[in-house]
């Protein structure tokens, strides 16, 4: 599904290499986790895949179902089925959460040549999805993420994911800033979306999120590369011993 080959990325503004040859394949139906110390390039990878400005791909490739992601505009990537749950969801004063999501859902449908969703159908679906994530009617009406707590913002990300039904979901430190209850709620939301056709890439610092969203594969990223890949036990190893041992071992 998601194929990343030898991806090299530097910052546009300065001559600084962030990703130094990332190789990664996420298959449909699987959950991959990426862990790694601060500054290893995890968030950069998520931004480059979703098309944020400010990064220059110097070599390598990234495809989603054989479509070249790197050639597409961010909205085209979204329509192709890529979704990024932001580490820091952006507040957008003046744009209602519901208006935003309906615009997004219908823009994606239009881009794929599908019929737009009627207002009534949209309302029915969003109410259902919101309820599962304990998002109340007031949060749906309010401007996007404005005045939301950290937990509410992350739940809002997962609700967007549920509404947009992407093929490939990237979760960038979705656990950061969440208390245990909020994390459970978010994890349940993610788990409800797991199915055979959908891939997940979960970026996290800590093993605890992976207690709730069980990964099939765990990668360790350091200094712009995947340095080790293993099963769920790799996350436990990090939790117990930190990154130092693993990094020393691969050095």
């Amino acid at each position: 599904m998601l194929n990343i080959k030898d991806l090299h990325v530097q910052l546009e503004e300065e001559d600084k290499q962030i990703l130094k040859g990332v190789d990664l394949t996420v298959e449909a139906g699987k959950v991959h986790a990426i862990m790694g110390p601060n500054g290893s390039g995890k968030s950069t990878l998520s931004y480059v895949l979703s098309g944020r400005d400010g990064y220059e791909v110097t070599s390598g490739e990234a495809t989603l179902d054989d479509e070249d992601l790197l050639e597409m505009e961010p909205e085209e990537r979204a329509a192709a089925g890529l979704f990024l749950a932001f580490q820091y969801p952006v507040e957008i004063p003046g744009v209602g959460n519901m208006t935003f999501l309906r615009t997004a859902v219908n823009a994606q449908r239009k881009a794929r040549g599908e019929d737009e969703m009627s207002a009534a159908d949209f309302l029915k679906v969003i109410r259902e999805r919101a309820k599962a994530l304990k998002i109340d009617a007031d949060m749906l009406k309010r401007p996007v993420n404005v005045g939301f707590s950290g937990g509410e913002k992350k739940r809002n990300e997962i609700m967007q994911m549920a509404m947009l039904e992407p093929k490939m979901c990237i979760l960038d430190e979705t656990d950061s800033g969440l208390d245990v209850d909020a994390m459970k709620l978010v994890a349940e939301g993610v788990n409800a979306l797991r199915n055979e056709g959908r891939g997940f890439l979960v970026i996290t610092h800590y093993q605890r999120l992976l207690d709730h969203i069980k990964p099939d594969v765990v990668h360790i990223m350091a200094d712009g590369k995947i340095v080790k890949t293993g099963g769920p036990e790799l996350a436990l190893e990090v939790e117990n011993n930190g990154y130092a041992d693993i990094l020393a071992e691969v050095a």
């Binding site: 098309g51 979204a78 744009v95 615009t103 997004a104 859902v105 823009a107 967007q160």
Partner: protein
């Protein structure tokens, strides 16, 4: 030796093109206004309040040509039950207007009315009292206005009154003067729509008595080449409410001045504007609020979206006189610059002589929030639609100043359509 060049006098050159109407009761006010014009002189670039806006095309003897603009849109507020008063290039059009009868209101035409006692007390009075700052274009208007209406609101007006200004002549040069008097406790909503003329000079004097409420919503048409200098002068009595909102899209030059004198305790004055300019567009809001009473509230909220070299100007003043304690004054002017060629010039002023007041003001210019834009795009919203959403969001604070939901929704709908057509 060459002949000495004739001395240039833009004021007299302009006055030479005009003929003062003679209709009896307003003659004294017109003559007094003409004397004020001569004393002040028409605006020039060196005048303190014309530093950011070139007045030349507003002052020159004849109106610059303004191509007519045709569009398929129906009339704004077309579905609304309202009393229509139509002016074509500044001339009252009886055929297109409704009967000038409305419960709670008496309406007369300036050009036709016999001496109306209340109007002769007001005509040119609020304008002439536009102290502190010279406003010669308004005085010129008082002296030479050829048409307009006198509205006396004695109760709650049955429905809104809509001045509809049609522009059908490429060189029309219209001078309209309206006087509106609200009796104590009276209420009216006034709508103004349309570009009016190639060049439009309009003055509206509004006297709001104790406990009266005046709502004003205006949309200045979409003709790209029109020019306008408009003034609102208002006096507010105790516990009265004045709320005015203006939407401007297009127009080569627009100068909207609003002069608010709050003279009665516990009054409320809100003035707001949203403008969207593209290319050869210059839009100037100049506002002067004077607090001369206790516990009054004033708000100024102006938002401008500028692209392709458009220019926005805001000059706003809050003057709190000695003794105007517990004044609550607020002023915000913001611009969204969609490219590097556009500019926003702002001059906020506070002058406060009372010691127990809350006054705040702010002015900002900024580009589209790139993080917000990326966030929307990452959800599949195309860049152009995302930009429109963020632009409307930016204007929302000003548009929300319109209290009436029906009027507000009508304007937002228009605004969305206009943004769509101005993409890129």
């Amino acid at each position: 030796m060459a002949e000495p060049a004739p001395k240039l006098n833009p004021t007299e050159d302009r006055l030479d093109t005009l003929t003062m109407p003679q209709n009896g009761w307003a003659d004294a006010a017109r003559k007094a206004a003409l004397a004020r014009v001569r004393e002040m002189g028409l605006p020039g670039r060196r005048d303190e309040y014309w530093k950011f806006t070139r007045p030349d095309s507003l002052v020159q003897p004849t109106a610059p040509v303004a191509a007519l603009f045709h569009n398929e849109e129906g009339p704004l507020f077309g579905d609304l039950d309202r009393l229509k008063i139509v002016f074509v290039d500044g001339v009252f059009d009886a055929d297109q207007s409704d009967d000038l009868t409305l419960s709670g209101v008496r309406i007369d035409r300036l050009a036709e009315s016999a001496d109306i006692h209340w109007a002769s007390d007001l005509y040119g009075a609020l304008e002439g009292n536009g102290h502190y700052v010279p406003r010669p274009l308004a005085a010129l208007n008082t002296a030479y206005a050829t048409d307009g209406v006198l509205i006396h609101v004695t109760g709650k007006a049955e429905k809104p009154i809509n001045f509809i200004y049609l522009h059908e002549n490429e060189t029309s040069d219209a001078i309209l003067h309206h006087v509106i008097k609200l009796d104590p406790g009276a209420e009216v909503t006034l709508l103004e729509t349309g570009p009016a003329a190639a060049r439009f000079n309009k003055v509206m004097e509004v006297d709001v008595a104790d406990g009266a409420t005046f709502h004003h919503v205006r949309a200045q048409g979409r003709d790209h080449e029109r020019r306008a200098a408009t003034h609102i002068f208002t006096r507010l009595g105790a516990e009265s409410v004045f709320k005015s909102f203006t939407l401007t899209v297009n127009g080569r030059l627009t100068r909207n001045e609003c002069v608010i004198d709050i003279t009665g305790d516990d009054a409320v004055a809100h003035v707001a504007g949203a403008c969207v300019g593209d290319g050869d567009f210059h839009h100037d809001d100049t506002v002067f609020v004077t607090h001369d009473a206790l516990r009054c509230e004033s708000r100024q909220v102006f938002k401008k979206v500028l692209r392709n070299g458009a220019v926005g100007v805001f000059q706003g003043k809050i003057l709190v006189k000695e003794g105007a304690q517990k004044t609550d004054g607020y002023q915000i002017s913001q611009s969204l610059l969609l490219d590097d060629d556009s500019q926003f010039l702002a001059k906020p002023e506070l002058e406060i002589y009372a010691d127990d007041v809350a006054c705040s003001h702010g002015s900002t210019s900024g580009a589209i929030d790139e993080d917000a834009l990326f966030y929307l795009r990452s959800r599949g919203v195309p860049a152009e639609i995302a930009t429109d959403l963020l632009t409307l969001a930016f204007l929302a604070e000003a548009v929300e100043e319109i209290e009436d939901e029906v009027l507000r929704d009508a304007l937002v709908e228009r605004l969305q359509g206009w943004l769509e057509r101005h993409r890129g």
